[in-house]
């Protein structure tokens, strides 16, 4: 199968629906098949990659021994595993508007309409969630 460049614009907030879970599953499956993925994160999805999320969620008081990875860690590990085949972009306007300015290393903060460039480059585009 010829590798494609897939562009995903993610707009929805975490904790509102299964959007984030679906996004991560799509990314992992597509990357494992050799495709190149460009993610553009808008609105409240800019919280997915906050440095302040740390590596794991707060402790589960009922199961202290279990480590639950944060979304920031999941994105970091995907970037580490797949290298340049995964690009994660953050809309600067949305980031500043939501106060999500402390982003993990490796994500790229971009001016708002830069996403049009990636829209042009991609073989497949999909917008997920609403702002």
């Amino acid at each position: 199968m010829t590798p494609h460049t897939i562009f995903l614009i993610v707009m929805g907030a975490p904790y509102e629906s299964e959007l984030t879970t679906t996004l991560f599953r799509l990314l992992d499956a597509a990357l494992a098949r050799g495709h190149r993925l460009i993610v553009w994160s808008c609105g409240a999805s800019t919280t997915l990659t906050l440095e302040s999320l740390g590596e794991c969620k707060p402790r589960n008081v009922m199961r202290h021994e279990v480590v639950y990875p944060s979304t920031a860690r999941l994105v970091r590990t995907m970037m580490a595993r797949y290298g340049e085949r995964l690009e994660w972009h953050i809309c600067q306007q949305c980031m500043e508007e939501r106060g999500t300015t402390g982003q993990i290393e490796g994500v790229r903060i971009q001016p708002p309409f830069r996403f049009l460039r990636y829209l042009d480059q991609a073989d497949v585009c999909m917008s997920m969630g609403i702002k």
Partner: protein, 138 residues
């Protein structure tokens, strides 16, 4: 909290930018304070983002105003508005931020004047209040 008026408890669970929950909340708090009541707000979930220090006091510049002559319009953030409510209330407003929710969402950097607390406080406030209202879903 000083005495006077009724104690109104508002538990807020919804994220900003999803509905008119935040606007409604700020209007309710403003009006209650203006009428001489005492207000306790407890924010959970996405509502812990309303008082992020990183919001600053004004929103980013309006992209439609760029290139127009004159001074850019200043749009206040929720953090700024809540700071002003705390100032206006002179002790009659307590704004709590749920610590577990705050940590779960990475909303660690909170403005001065808010009180980080644990969930049992919500139950305590519910018991003490004359009027209680839970707003939004987590």
């Amino acid at each position: 909290m000083p005495d006077g008026g009724r104690l109104i408890f508002l538990g807020v669970l919804g994220a900003p930018y999803e509905s008119e929950l935040t606007t409604t909340l700020l209007r309710l708090v403003n009006e209650a304070i203006a009428q001489g009541h005492r207000v306790a707000v407890y924010t959970c979930g996405g509502a812990t983002e309303l008082t992020l220090k990183t919001l600053g006091d004004k929103k980013p510049a309006n992209f439609l105003e760029r290139g127009t002559p004159g001074q850019l319009t200043r749009y206040p953030t929720t953090a700024q508005l809540i700071r002003e409510l705390l100032e206006m209330a002179q002790g009659r407003l307590q704004w709590y931020v749920c610590r577990p929710c705050m940590e779960e969402r990475g909303a660690l950097s909170q403005i001065e004047g808010v009180i980080k607390h644990v969930p049992p406080k919500l139950r305590q406030l519910l018991g003490e209040a004359d009027v209680a209202l839970l707003m939004g879903v987590k």
